[in-house]
Symmetry: D2
Subunit: 220 residues, 4 copies
Amino acid sequence: MTYGTTFPLWRAAAPDWDAYTRAPFVQALADGSLPRASFLTYLAQDYVFLIHFSRAWALATAKAGTIGEMRACAATVHALLQTETRLHVGICAEAGISEEALLATVEAPQNLAYTRYVLEAGYSGDFLDLLAALMPCVLGYGEIGARLMREGHDPAYAAWIEAYGGSDYQALCHDAAALLDGAIARRLGPGAPSIPRWTELAGRFATATRLEAAFWTLAA
Amino acid sequence: MTYGTTFPLWRAAAPDWDAYTRAPFVQALADGSLPRASFLTYLAQDYVFLIHFSRAWALATAKAGTIGEMRACAATVHALLQTETRLHVGICAEAGISEEALLATVEAPQNLAYTRYVLEAGYSGDFLDLLAALMPCVLGYGEIGARLMREGHDPAYAAWIEAYGGSDYQALCHDAAALLDGAIARRLGPGAPSIPRWTELAGRFATATRLEAAFWTLAA
Amino acid sequence: MTYGTTFPLWRAAAPDWDAYTRAPFVQALADGSLPRASFLTYLAQDYVFLIHFSRAWALATAKAGTIGEMRACAATVHALLQTETRLHVGICAEAGISEEALLATVEAPQNLAYTRYVLEAGYSGDFLDLLAALMPCVLGYGEIGARLMREGHDPAYAAWIEAYGGSDYQALCHDAAALLDGAIARRLGPGAPSIPRWTELAGRFATATRLEAAFWTLAA
Amino acid sequence: MTYGTTFPLWRAAAPDWDAYTRAPFVQALADGSLPRASFLTYLAQDYVFLIHFSRAWALATAKAGTIGEMRACAATVHALLQTETRLHVGICAEAGISEEALLATVEAPQNLAYTRYVLEAGYSGDFLDLLAALMPCVLGYGEIGARLMREGHDPAYAAWIEAYGGSDYQALCHDAAALLDGAIARRLGPGAPSIPRWTELAGRFATATRLEAAFWTLAA
């Protein structure tokens, strides 16, 4: 199972895809061996991440080319800022991390590297550059969640795994892939994979994947 | 009646404020003398305007400094793209302008000048520059609507007048003014009006006001 | 005579190209009938224009994809800020307009519309969007200058005509066209004209041309 | 000895300043114990860095507020792209690294983190945010160079030390500090240090310093 038609091609060309989606951190989430402290460190960093991720989708809304693209991106911003970030605060609260503590989190270099790479790709490039840099996060988490659901996992981190492997997030991944496929077709046409721009975008995707792989190490 | 504490000061320093809010077009909306064809020209241009206006609020979401600011801006984007633009399409459909016709509208220079000024102010400046350029539109329409409701008006364009003079839009204006006041306080502190940056921002507001005044002439 | 291979195709698809390059203002420059006051109004606006034009080329430097593209754009910024703007100040001084007066010029809406359109195209789009929006100015002035040199002209505004029709500016136009052609080839490949992106870029060029045509009216 | 009036205050508030300017890598450059291979790794990464650094100064040119600020930033871009990058290619060639090898360098995460942080600060913020993020690099290298010249050093890496400790680079540091001081005064006025914006900018400077400290570890 995969998402859309562009993503599988870019994934195949990203040398660090497995290092990202099969990272030791992911494996330890699956078998329950991940220390609780590591998970909490990850959660706090992920909250800061979500804020910059929301900013990146907002930038995508500003740089979109059609009202349909704008609505798709804005819906993501809305979901992130109104639902996801609040859920995150709730999960962290249960784990004993207050919202104040979350907001005071010092951004790890790996966190900063990925989010600023994405935002800068969007500002310096166009809508496609931004999508290419965003997709490893959106679709990689979907792939990880779906795989762990399929392969079975320890109950310790079941909530996290089910959040990304569950049908809501999987539907969101299909929508994101459709947004990407449509955006590529609308700009580069049916021969997209043979245009130099395609290679450039696949390179953006590969660099973002490398930075996502590094992200897990912030809580190792 | 006015909105917040920053806006009245900037308004007082904008030489074209009356040329904008008391333009012949506005007066003709109030007394019902505006030709229907002019109103339809305005509506079609305003649809294109709304798209760029949504993009500007999305950019504001990306450039905001706190999660509260982000949520306020994203809520505006959401309202514009999910509600306002659809309402607009409905009003235009009733008036005999199809969505295809709307999307095919050639942007008038006055339309283009204002929206690109706002977006460029946002990209080249910071969150405050963007808000300063957005406010003449948001709050000027609120002021016009409230005044015409108060002073009475011909029924011909009552729907338009009541949309901006009504309590929903008026509440939105108070929220926007609070967003502006908070954003200024958070960055420039209590002595804001005596800082050079204030004058620069008031200049942005004045230029945007001048361009809003010119906007009405596109349907004259 | 023309410049490069992309420009003639985009020019042919821009409905306002003749309205721009054969505007009454241009004709009046050629036959010497342009009132001196109109020329001075134009000169002062053009000084403000040059500043935003320099900013746009600086943005292009930031958004370029290769060090060669960066150097080409940066050389233009350097020429504009170190030479062109100073020359302009000199010409205006001779004409009795001080640098203070120049800096105090209130930007005409037509000036503002074009420069902000260019800058926003660059920020919201990518390097190609920015070049597409810049080219009508760079190459249109070259075409006007070359044509007036060829067709003969009254001595009244010979200095202006020779500046743009002369070999230095003509060489600059050939360089700019080569930058554009290379940038297109590097990103869109040999089949560029059949890719949807091409049509989008030609549309940017056409809108910028329309705004350049309107620019002349600020001093009419 | 120091540079300007803003920098010493921000430096004092940046917890990682010493970790950056007195990093083991710097110490090993001074006493000559740095392995040649580490220095070459650093040089290749620094070439990629210079390209993004040039882009950041170009963005600063686009976001500047006065023609004087624009000229100061553009002069830096010009020096970086016409002189510095070519010198760098020369030094690397002597060390046996071809320009092709330089251009093929895979950007280290630490390199990417700093340059994208700077560029994103500039795009999302304003001219001051961009300067605040650039200064740790410009002035930190100046401080390191001046200190090592003063304290004495092994001849092994004398060329590097003299490049940054020499009078040309030191003059450039004084100019950059004057640009910063002027830009702050022009926007925030004489009471700048008591405005919330100042704290925000000092935070940008501190984060950039943290990322500069991490930069050295890429060649450790």
